[in-house]
Symmetry: D2
Amino acid sequence: MANDMARNTSIYSRRESEARSYCRNMKAIFTEARGSELFDADGNRYIDFLAGCSSLNYGHNDPDMKAALIDHISGDGIAHGLDFHTDAKSAFLRAFEEIILAPRGMDYKVMMTGPTGTNAVEAAIKLARKVTGRRNVIAFTNGFHGMTMGALALTGNASKRGGAGTGSLSDVTHMPFEGSLGEDVDTLGLIDAMLSNPSSGIDAPAAFVFEPIQGEGGLNAASDAWMQGIEKIARKHGALLIVDDIQSGCGRAGTYFSFENAKIEPDMITQAKSLSGFGLPFAALLIKPEHDIWKPAEHNGTFRGNTHAFVTARVAMEKFWSDDAFEKAIAGKSVVLTTALGDIAALVEGASLKGRGLMQGVDVGSGDLAAAICARAYDLGLVIETSGAHDEVIKYLAPLTTSPQIMREGFNILAQATSDVTTDMKIAAE
Amino acid sequence: MANDMARNTSIYSRRESEARSYCRNMKAIFTEARGSELFDADGNRYIDFLAGCSSLNYGHNDPDMKAALIDHISGDGIAHGLDFHTDAKSAFLRAFEEIILAPRGMDYKVMMTGPTGTNAVEAAIKLARKVTGRRNVIAFTNGFHGMTMGALALTGNASKRGGAGTGSLSDVTHMPFEGSLGEDVDTLGLIDAMLSNPSSGIDAPAAFVFEPIQGEGGLNAASDAWMQGIEKIARKHGALLIVDDIQSGCGRAGTYFSFENAKIEPDMITQAKSLSGFGLPFAALLIKPEHDIWKPAEHNGTFRGNTHAFVTARVAMEKFWSDDAFEKAIAGKSVVLTTALGDIAALVEGASLKGRGLMQGVDVGSGDLAAAICARAYDLGLVIETSGAHDEVIKYLAPLTTSPQIMREGFNILAQATSDVTTDMKIAAE
Amino acid sequence: MANDMARNTSIYSRRESEARSYCRNMKAIFTEARGSELFDADGNRYIDFLAGCSSLNYGHNDPDMKAALIDHISGDGIAHGLDFHTDAKSAFLRAFEEIILAPRGMDYKVMMTGPTGTNAVEAAIKLARKVTGRRNVIAFTNGFHGMTMGALALTGNASKRGGAGTGSLSDVTHMPFEGSLGEDVDTLGLIDAMLSNPSSGIDAPAAFVFEPIQGEGGLNAASDAWMQGIEKIARKHGALLIVDDIQSGCGRAGTYFSFENAKIEPDMITQAKSLSGFGLPFAALLIKPEHDIWKPAEHNGTFRGNTHAFVTARVAMEKFWSDDAFEKAIAGKSVVLTTALGDIAALVEGASLKGRGLMQGVDVGSGDLAAAICARAYDLGLVIETSGAHDEVIKYLAPLTTSPQIMREGFNILAQATSDVTTDMKIAAE
Amino acid sequence: MANDMARNTSIYSRRESEARSYCRNMKAIFTEARGSELFDADGNRYIDFLAGCSSLNYGHNDPDMKAALIDHISGDGIAHGLDFHTDAKSAFLRAFEEIILAPRGMDYKVMMTGPTGTNAVEAAIKLARKVTGRRNVIAFTNGFHGMTMGALALTGNASKRGGAGTGSLSDVTHMPFEGSLGEDVDTLGLIDAMLSNPSSGIDAPAAFVFEPIQGEGGLNAASDAWMQGIEKIARKHGALLIVDDIQSGCGRAGTYFSFENAKIEPDMITQAKSLSGFGLPFAALLIKPEHDIWKPAEHNGTFRGNTHAFVTARVAMEKFWSDDAFEKAIAGKSVVLTTALGDIAALVEGASLKGRGLMQGVDVGSGDLAAAICARAYDLGLVIETSGAHDEVIKYLAPLTTSPQIMREGFNILAQATSDVTTDMKIAAE
């Protein structure tokens, strides 16, 4: 009977808000997870190509982080420490300085915001407005930055924006992301022209905010040249450059920060999702020291600086980023991924590849088709999701640590699902 | 040397944002905590009358929650599950239904928002605007609801609001909280008069949002009559009633929800802080089913539904709320607290008591004095903080589980600190 | 046939917007007007107790202004001069300096805004925000300041505000006007308390804007003490004081500016309505020289500085304000008016008098009753209108120059109309 | 002495706001004007190529309008009639119906807004938001629509926008006008792409607002194809089409409405400037009957429906628009103008022609150069002004009725001035 209860999902329809989403199509009750595998209450195994939307870049329950966390809890380590000094926080900050910042020649202050990406984004735009005395912020088509009012104003998605009801999503100008108006349209030229014209009606911006690879927006990957162009335009017009690296960071794009190859120097960087390494709520805003003009507690939050996350995040840095082995492994897997997705794209007429690093996908041209393929894949034991303005992109976000074998297994399922669905459609069309 | 490093706080000035606050005055590096006691790297012991700003109502590292959490992690339970069904989530929802909702005759849907209070507040006002088609929200003087742009617009504190820089904090009307204009001013009459006058310029409100006891605003406790009055005014003017129970809830005010005695029926209730029981990031919005009109994913978030928090929150409910023993214990301690604070207030001319339940404090009339007393108390081994528009209230927020002995020990320190500071002042004044 | 056409109002229903209002109840086609009398196409005579809502304080077609205007036009004087220097403008400014400003010891710059009151109000709040660097403006219940978005945000009336549809009426805090919460509520204390509390959520204001007598809001006349109190609060909180004297100015309240007896010193004063003296479109903003920080053309408008209005406005000042005879005459008539309205109020149970000077009225307690009385008065040859949040005040706004004889004639009609309507109501009620 | 006073401009520096502009460079005190000629207090004559910024399309003091207006005033015709029916208003509406609307097959309601262009624009956007229930309005680079907060939000010019200080200019998206991003950029495609992308962040618009020829923005003339494209995009996205014809209308562009040749059907049309024919303040909003959902007085204003302007506007329509003679004359003069401006452009390296009809100009590439030429022209007896984001366009806006002889005389002065200035510059450069 306990088992029956464990498998009964009526509590969800009875008690959980209609806002719930993933569980509607993937109805399993998950109970355990290791690495790139999920297990449900009936013992079924699923390969995880979603990884908590890139919050589990190092896989589920990494044994080293797990050991450190259990050790911390067992010893009555601090669980909640507001923004007090704690040994766990000291160790996190030191590791971040030594392993992440110093080797990259980066000089940033770390702001512990509330432990969700949207909190970090809110802190960033508040600070940019304080620093510059300007109000307008430039965001981009297909950008996604969060659900609280300040971050939602930056977010492009009409359905998400609709959640604000009659509330005002103001003080933001939405500009076209690279490629969004067609391959041949010079978006940098357009943006610079609009801002350079004193009669354009676009107020001088406090900041530009963009994702190097748009995770929710369809895996649109900005080129290095475009990122450099935006940096240049921002500097020219006296605006700060904010990179939202929440989904694309922590190795997902091939380097720790997704923009490293572009050699841009953001004034602020938002981090969340895989920052804790273990899937725990954690977010931070990196701020160039000269812009760190916050007064004490001017932006605070009860859960800023999740102590459990400090513990696992430190282990993640030490384990994966102390040398370049992990980066090299990602590079290798990225090539494998491109090839595998290319094979899948070949099954769908007009399909094309999107993204880069281990943040790639297949644009199958239709949200219905993408949904059907993901649903079929789920039935075959693969958790994978869609992305894009029309949900038309099948998005690969497996843990970066996924073994070649499981990658291959997952690709096979995805190919099977794609083949099944397209075959069904052809039959239906005949 | 490792120990030296453990005691070195230079990493904070070098790497943590200027936004940090508590650690500026209470400089210890905390390493362990149990119940109502904190320990630092040098083995010093501190009594905790702050409890993570009411996030640790059941104390630090409660052994039962700790065991359950370690068990969950050890067994590779889900750490991050997006909004999938999980065994931990099912169990949490069932416990919430059986232990919290059903016995109180309450019917609410649970919305897992991002795991910070401000996210829950943002979800609430977005939904209220969607439901009513109205834009304006009524908030109150000295109210505190969070730091993201939507919640910050509701927040009264000028310094916090200043963090938004030039950003727009709009669509909110701030009305006087009970007592804020003086004991004899009828705030309910005033509010109803303003809203009933079609030429007042106050647009018809989507919602009223208030805290039954204003935690950051100075422990102003609304009377049952005032809460009933606001409910009546809200109903009269077609507005939803949203109770922000983030700091005052989970037993802090004497009952699970702080407004239970007033017998009001909020349309939405925000919860966070002690909801996880263990100090883990966790927040939820309770919604009357008829208002739960969210479309799937219309408001979402990566860390909505923190799975570790599901585990500990369930244990907290089972352990503390399955019968009325805990509630009775709180009632007893509240009486003790009132007496003890009265003794301390007697040491300061003009001081008065604020708040109710285990959320009481002493208004010493001056922020400087309150800060001096708290600083002295810290030196004597007691962590306690201030609150109020001028930080003029010394705020007791110890774990609800604090033993009578430790309560007494803490009161003695606080009395000593108050006496020391007032004596010093008298000497300085002579 | 020409006559038939002259009396045919079908063109209005066919071609004029549904926004039209006065002509719906008072359907005559007016053709001529002299002093306080209007004549329609059928030769019917109407006494005018409305005077273009106080735009015709010196009556219709004052012979001296008329002669000067015809002379100007006949001689090909400038009709439209943008903001060029013209002889007519020079003469206007000199007369304004010598007749209005100098004798009152007032030092103001004159800004020619677009020739409507709302344009002057918009200029005032824009400038106040520029001067102070603050955003929030304090306006009052029952205040009316215009229909363009900036002025409408200050306006209290819900129906007028509704005209903005989904547009944002932001950056304004609405506070209670004197008496609006009941005779015994200390609105000054309330306002100061809200602004003095750093956690009230009311942002520091750029300006206070009020009408000394609220024309559309129900003839609520602020006491000298209240105006002085608002001035004091404004100074205390670093806000500018803006007096909207559009309807109450130009002698209507007994003195040229309606606030003269209160001896307050506004930072800005808006003027329009009777400023031209002849009913021509004309508005101005008076600005304390130290606040006149406009850059050239930073606020402009095609019709700023209506040249025909310069001509008539100069004559009006010379004729009516060169000595104190006119002011004395107004004082005498005000006494007569109070008595006459008292007699009318005596006919309606619970009715009371409102306003002061020649801007008085009778609050009959119900918009329906007031409308019925005005409609009956119109049938008897008297043009008079209502005011107030519920249109419950019968408002006397006859030209200041109305002869005692015509005043008496009008009062008789109004008494008759009131008697007729209340008698009908009693019969209906039986 | 009286004469001295007449020539003394110290009253302006002493008493008129710093916002004044034209009179700073053109310092004459004008006293008389006839047709296309202005005369100052010293009897100097100036040719008027500015015409009140297109408010005097029929010249100064047209004898027929002048006679009708004197006749009206002499007979004590209504000067100020609120929105009562008057004989003058009836006649205006009938003439507008018969002479303007009917022959063009146009069906519009006429809304008498406050008598300035900005009031008409405010009414238009308020109504569009009411009709559609949407908030966002699309405006264009280099657009100019007025100075009140609603219209200013639509206006592109940064200096004008700066006049709002910290006030919020929200709910508007600024899109590129035809040609503003370079000749080869497809602005229609860009706009449609942004609006068609559900993740662009551009909220569904209530309306598009544009000027067929941007008067203040540099005489950018939209092609018929572009206007048709905007109409199509507006229809596709459920938005209303609002044409701001304030400066370009009343024959200025060659036809009564400037968009007639494009055969578009705006939902609303704003009119002002030359609508009265005589330079009197007057504005109107034309509304498709199905959108005329105003409630009575929902948008009103003291000076809505300037009665003197009704008189002159009727004469203007009867005299100039009863047959096609005037339109043909404009066509002829437009050809002459193009040739003449071409000759002037030939004097300046890189100069090019802008605009169409009798709203043309020369882009000399630099605001300083354009200002110098206009200043020199003024010294030689020609009033002419600049336009454009950088004030780089010398703008011809002479009365449409200007005789060929005076046109030629003015062109000669302009050519002389251009030659003088460019010669001086060459000498200075050597």
